[in-house]
Amino acid sequence: MPGPVWLATTVTGKVEETPRVRTLLLNAEGWPGHRAGQHLDVRLTAEDGYQAERSYSVASAQGEPLAITVERLADGEVSPYLVDEAREGDGFEVRGPIGGYFVWEDDGRPVFLVGGGSGVVPLMSMIRSSSGPTPIRLLYSSRTLEDVIFREELEARRGGLKVFHTLTRAQPPGWTGYGRRIDAELLREVAFPAAERPHVFVCGSTRFVDTAADGLVALGYEPESIRTERFGATGG
């Protein structure tokens, strides 16, 4: 079975999610489809042939047209191009989908999603791929309200989905959500009881992931049930 090959890709649309974050709608010739939680590699080529590659999580639901959601990193090489420069009609290459571990298949078990900043992107693919009665909870940490990606869509998705926001740097007047970095106490209030054996997916910076994963293990979650994706220096 051949591996994923580089596909010619065109930007077909762009959405401003927050001041630093854009969603790029893509048409990749021959894209084989993806499962919720997978990512892809982007390769940019400059006129003199110089190339740069980075990985980005797929934001769209399984079965839906390809979209990635990218945060501009201050010292990034590829993300500033995708966020600030790339426009409809521009082209680059992608290959994927990649990854068989940080993937969710609905088997009816409850799902606990924990995201920090742009770590919410693969979790959003999972949320968008869900239908039916499976209970899903999202614990989503952002710096301020204006940094919350997909805010309106999350608001509109009440139903099987419960969203718990925490804003770690500043909260607007009248804010009723959490207002601090996640900790063991916050997890205890928000997580499914361990006995319900939920699937758990945690995504964000490595420090965020460690805090969340260690906190859940302390609540009695089996370590093997906690799937993690850490954003090292992979985005950028």
Partner: protein, 199 residues
């Protein structure tokens, strides 16, 4: 001819190009990536085993750190595309460890706390190519980077340098380990850009 991305100039790396494999870029920090929570095995309970030889062999932490060790300076390359040059480690060579076992295996699987595994052909871990490392940059290896001890196989993508390693299982077949079973290449040579299955 790959598609040119209009307006992309890129940031040309300051590193020596002959040391940076295709698709990689240099970083100054040391990113942490792993599957699952960080395990924490107390040293009093830690052992390192080699199974699948004529007889199983095992060392406690005290016995293991008393083995002949060496300082290793190596460039490391993660499949997530970052590279770090001239990293300095201390550890026990797999030549030393495998020299204590009688066997005729062609492959091994490294097994780790937390359940991680990775597979390697013997010829890729012998003759000064692989170590079990317990110091990084002059200090005991931190748990987020795989401490107390991890495999170090710098000529392959760093997922082969299994964190929290607890032993080796000698085998006749090349059995795909954790990432190898999840879409990644069975060998992982960064100079051939063997990232994913089928590359």
């Amino acid at each position: 001819m790959p598609l040119i991305s209009r307006g992309f100039r890129g940031r040309r790396s300051e590193g020596p190009p002959d040391r940076i494999p295709p698709g990689q870029h240099l970083v100054d920090d040391f990113p942490v990536l792993s599957a699952g929570p960080t395990p924490h095995t107390p040293l009093e309970q830690w052992t390192f085993r080699i199974e699948g030889g004529a007889e199983p062999v095992s060392w406690t932490w005290e016995e293991f750190t008393a083995l002949p060790s060496e300082e290793v300076t190596a460039d490391i390359h993660c499949v997530t595309k970052w590279s770090k040059l001239d990293t300095v480690w201390r550890g026990v060579s797999l030549d030393t460890l495998l020299g204590r076992v009688q066997h005729d295996a062609s492959y091994l699987t490294a097994f780790c706390d937390g359940g991680y595994t990775t597979n390697l052909p013997l010829e890729h871990v012998t003759d000064d190519k692989a170590w079990v490392a317990y110091d990084y940059d002059g200090e005991p290896l931190e748990s987020e980077h795989g401490g107390p001890a991890r495999l170090l196989v710098p000529h392959l993508y760093f997922w082969k340098s299994a964190k929290w390693v607890r032993g080796l299982r000698l085998e006749d077949e090349n059995e795909p380990g954790f990432w190898e079973s999840n879409g990644y290449h069975i060998l992982g040579d960064p100079w051939l850009e063997q990232r994913y299955w089928g590359d």
